[in-house]
Structure formats: structure tokens, C-alpha cells
């Protein structure tokens, strides 16, 4: 069982910003779904994952990229060819 406090903590970790009034509803649904997930406890451990995976690399050569104005076209917050973001500190 997760509590409303747990759900508020998870929402904080995910930066999802849910309202206080929504907490009870989210918590109730969360617990129904997690109860259902408990069926995974019956899965026998030791089942191996993919074993035939290979890494996909390309040669380290410069390729064409989007021009600066197109990259910045979708934001209002820009300055001197950079994105302007909220302050971190």
C-alpha cells in the first residue's frame, strides 16, 4: 500500500505537480494498479533477458544538423542563439 504522502513524494520526484485535492484519487487508483502488479511476484526468477543484443554505432564523423534558427523556432525564451531556461540555483 502506498499512502498519499508517498504519492506526493513520487509526484515531486517526477516534477509532475499534482494538486492537493487530487491526491486521494491518485492514491486510490495507484493502489488498485499496484495490487494488480503483485501478480509479478509469482514470476520465477532466473528468466534471462535478451542475450543476442549488439550495440549499434556509427562512424565518428560530423553529420549535417538542423540550422540554429530552426532549432530555436519553437521557443519564446531565447537569447544570443541559446535557449533561456529557468534558474537552477
Amino acid at each position: 500500500m502506498v499512502s498519499e504522502k508517498d504519492v506526493a513524494h513520487i509526484a515531486g520526484l517526477a516534477d509532475i505537480g499534482i494538486e492537493k485535492e487530487e491526491l486521494a484519487e491518485f492514491t486510490g487508483r495507484f493502489n488498485e494498479i499496484l495490487d494488480y502488479f503483485d501478480i509479478l511476484d509469482q514470476v520465477e526468477p532466473g528468466s534471462r533477458g535478451e542475450t543476442d543484443l549488439v550495440n549499434v554505432f556509427r562512424d565518428d564523423v560530423v553529420e549535417a544538423s538542423l540550422p540554429e534558427d530552426e532549432v530555436l523556432a519553437n521557443t519564446r525564451e531565447k537569447e544570443d542563439g541559446f535557449f533561456r531556461a529557468p534558474r537552477v540555483m
Binding site: 517526477a14 505537480g17 499534482i18 494498479i33 509479478l40 532549432v71 523556432a73 529557468p86
Partner: protein, 432 residues
């Protein structure tokens, strides 16, 4: 270059964006107007994923599949409605309102590619692209009475698809006929080095309806608990038709079905929690307030930008991956996923394809399903193909209560041709 004009009466809310004019060219799809699901990037055309968080976003590039469609002469006539970021089974989770099912406008079209399915079923377009993470092409195809194919994982490039759950999702064709699905597969399967999971395995095939000697596996679980007996009986009739055409029916078991749905939801929400972290309002979409501190600004954007189901899935995934729970949820889900894969590989040693219903019921009424868990459970018959990465098609196979029912045919990896052949045999068998 000839120009298509497109100004449909969109009575079913199938489209988020329509283009009055679309350029076309020579090629296999010359002059054909095609609708594209709104989570596939289209240069110069707004692409929203049916989310407020991407309102106003105009991609500066085309997805690989869109480039291929244009090269083949098709015109992109619009962007179709969907569940926000592909998260849903009804197309009700859209910031642009629900799409209605042309077969019965009081019903949902299925989801999440509900707009693409409705646009075809209503006769607005001949073909469309959808995406399928856990059934999002096959479910709406079944509910609206059209054909939809989820290709083998890796066969169609995901470059330019706005990611929800990378290890599960594929772009695929939706159309009224199996021949059109086959035609689109020829175009869509061109290799793309920009998607590291793209595999060079072109589809160059003409559907062959001969099913003599074909072994069709029918898992008991596909006709078990939760499957409406009326739907089951319509699908059995469909499978019997293939038997009369010379196929052999072999009943079988898929024990991993017990865990498949939980494994799917743990995996897709975990991947979503990571993928959707990019929506911070800095580079695109609803702008961030740069005067606020980072987390405040980020939470503010996401509170207003994401719908309830998207928030729920991001939180479920964050939880499943969090310290102390990873072993209980994510690691177990991957073990279960491997069992699903192993079950399919075992079955495909003795059968050529596996058949069953696409969905356990007919289309729900609009607003009928509001609780998330019962909604998730309706994906039980489609998620196994995504977990294993195998090809799966849904072809219309009659009606129950007057509503369309889909027959699902699944095949071994990279045998998309085979499942398309069997669907074609069924389609021709019904027509005769």
C-alpha cells in the same frame, strides 16, 4: 506536381489538424491522401500528441516514415486524434476531445490511434499511419471495422516518432483492405540508420491467399476469462473459415499470459517516466516561466500541460524504477517479458501463425470506462505481441451486437508477410 484538396466534414473528430491542400508526386502512392497520427513528426505541420504541453509545436523535420510516404507520391492531408501520448484504449484521453466511432457514434473508436481508424472507417482517407505500443493500431482497427498492422519491432523506423515506450512501440499501416496494408508496408520498411533499432529487412511482397496446410495455433487464453463469449464465437467462426480454406487449427497454451499485462504496464510506464521528462517547456511547447526556480517552473508546466492519465503513468513508472522497488517491479516485469517471448518462440516451432480475438469486447460506450485498471485489462490480448516484438494484424471478422469485431493474427519475427497473407486469405474468403 498535382495538388490534393482535402476539406472533409469531420463529424467524428478524427483529426486534430487538416490540410486543405497537399502536394503529391509520382510513385506507388501517387495522388493518395494519407492521414498521420499526431505523434509522428511532420515538418511545418503542428504535432501535438493530443497534449496541451505540445500546443503550438511545429517540428522542423519529417519522421522517416513521412519522408518515405512523400517520396512515394502520397499527400499528407492531416494529423489524427489520439489518446494523449498514446496512453489509452479509447481516444478519450485527448486534449482535443474524444473521437467517435463511425460504426456507432455513441461508442469510442478504440485507441490510441482512434483518429486514424475513424478517418478510414468514415471514408475520409484511404490509408493512415498509426502507432502501436500495446495494441494502439489493432484495437481501433478492430473497434472501427478496418485493417491495422503492427510490424515486427525494428522493421519500420521510429525516427521522428515522439517516444512513449521505445522498446515496445512501432509505427504501422491502417487501411480498409489488406492489399493497402501490404502496399504501405512496401513503402514504410526502408532501412533508416537514424533509428538504431531499424533493421534492413525490406518488405517486397504481394499477398498470397493460399492457406493450404498452414498451421494456425489458437491459445486457450485468448478465449478465456474476460473475453466476451459473443466476441469469442464470432472470432471462432472466422478461424473456422480459414480451416475450410485448408488451414489446420491447433489449440495451444500460453501460460505467460497470466503476467503479460502487468509486465507490459510496468515496462511502458517506466519508459514513459523517462521519455516524458523532456517536456519541460524550454525548447518547445508551452513556454516555461524563466523567472521561477527550475522545479517550480517545471512542475507548473507539467501540471497544466499533461492530462490525468499521462500524470498517472509518469508517476507509476517513476515509482516502479525508484530505489527499493526496482527489483519488485521492473526486474520482474523483464523476466515476465522474456517468458512471453519464450512462449511465442516455443509455439512457433509447431505452428505458422497464432490467431485469436484482437479485443476481448466490442467498442465501449463513450464515457463507459473511467477507471484505469479495467481499461488496462482490455489490452490483454494485444500487449503480448509488443512484449515479444512480433508482427500482429487485426482484420475485420464480422459483428457482435451490430459492432465490428477484429480477428488478430500473430506471426514469428520478420514474418509480417505471413500474417498479411493469412489476413488476405480471410478477407477474400469472406468476400466470396
Amino acid at each position: 506536381m498535382p495538388t490534393l484538396t482535402f476539406s472533409p466534414k469531420d463529424r467524428y473528430n478524427a483529426f486534430i489538424t487538416t490540410l486543405n491542400e497537399a502536394g503529391t508526386g509520382p510513385g506507388k502512392l501517387s495522388g493518395i491522401g494519407i492521414a498521420v497520427k499526431d505523434n509522428i513528426s511532420t515538418s511545418g505541420i503542428p504535432t501535438t500528441c493530443a497534449s496541451r504541453i505540445l500546443e503550438g509545436y511545429i517540428p522542423p523535420f519529417d519522421a522517416h516514415v513521412v519522408t518515405l510516404l512523400k517520396k512515394a507520391g502520397a499527400g499528407i492531408v492531416g494529423k489524427t486524434n489520439m489518446d494523449e501520448f498514446g496512453m489509452g484504449t479509447t481516444t478519450e484521453n485527448s486534449a482535443f476531445g474524444p473521437t467517435k466511432n463511425p460504426a456507432d457514434p455513441s461508442r469510442v473508436p478504440g485507441g490510441s490511434s482512434g483518429g486514424s481508424a475513424a478517418a478510414i472507417a468514415a471514408g475520409m482517407v484511404r490509408m493512415a499511419l498509426g502507432t502501436d505500443t500495446g495494441g494502439s493500431i489493432r484495437c481501433p482497427a478492430a473497434f472501427c471495422g478496418i485493417v491495422g498492422h503492427k510490424p515486427t519491432y525494428g522493421r519500420v523506423s521510429r525516427y521522428g516518432l515522439i517516444a512513449y515506450a521505445n522498446s515496445l512501440e512501432q509505427i504501422g499501416p491502417m487501411a480498409r483492405t489488406v492489399s493497402d496494408i501490404s502496399l504501405l508496408m512496401e513503402i514504410l520498411t526502408a532501412y533508416d540508420p537514424r533509428d538504431s533499432t531499424s533493421i534492413n529487412c525490406p518488405y517486397a511482397h504481394t499477398p498470397d491467399p493460399d492457406v493450404h496446410g498452414l498451421k494456425i495455433g489458437v491459445p486457450e487464453e485468448y478465449f478465456g476469462e474476460g473475453v466476451d463469449p459473443r466476441v469469442a464465437s464470432v472470432v471462432w467462426e472466422g478461424i473456422s473459415l480459414l480451416e475450410r480454406k485448408g488451414a489446420e487449427i491447433i489449440t495451444c497454451r500460453m501460460p505467460s499470459m497470466a503476467y503479460a499485462l502487468a509486465a507490459y504496464y510496468v515496462t511502458c510506464t517506466s519508459e514513459a517516466s523517462s521519455n516524458l521528462a523532456r517536456f519541460d517547456g524550454v525548447r518547445y511547447g508551452h513556454p516555461a516561466d524563466t523567472k521561477l526556480q527550475w522545479h517550480e517552473s517545471f512542475q507548473d508546466r507539467r501540471r497544466n500541460g499533461f492530462g490525468t492519465e499521462v500524470k498517472r503513468r509518469i508517476m507509476l513508472g517513476t515509482f516502479a524504477l525508484s530505489s527499493g522497488y526496482y527489483g519488485k517491479y521492473y526486474a520482474k516485469a523483464q523476466a515476465a517479458r522474456q517468458q512471453v517471448r519464450t512462449d511465442f518462440l516455443r509455439l512457433f516451432r509447431s505452428v505458422d501463425v497464432i490467431a485469436g480475438p484482437t479485443m476481448p469486447t466490442v467498442a465501449f460506450r463513450l464515457g463507459e470506462k473511467t477507471d484505469p485498471l479495467p481499461m488496462y485489462l482490455s489490452d490483454i490480448l494485444t500487449v503480448p505481441a509488443n512484449l515479444a516484438g512480433i508482427p500482429a494484424i487485426s482484420v475485420p471478422c464480422g459483428t457482435s451486437e451490430g459492432l465490428p469485431v477484429g480477428l488478430q493474427i500473430m506471426g514469428p519475427h520478420f514474418r509480417d508477410e505471413r500474417v498479411i497473407d493469412v489476413a488476405y486469405a480471410y478477407e477474400l474468403g469472406v468476400a466470396r
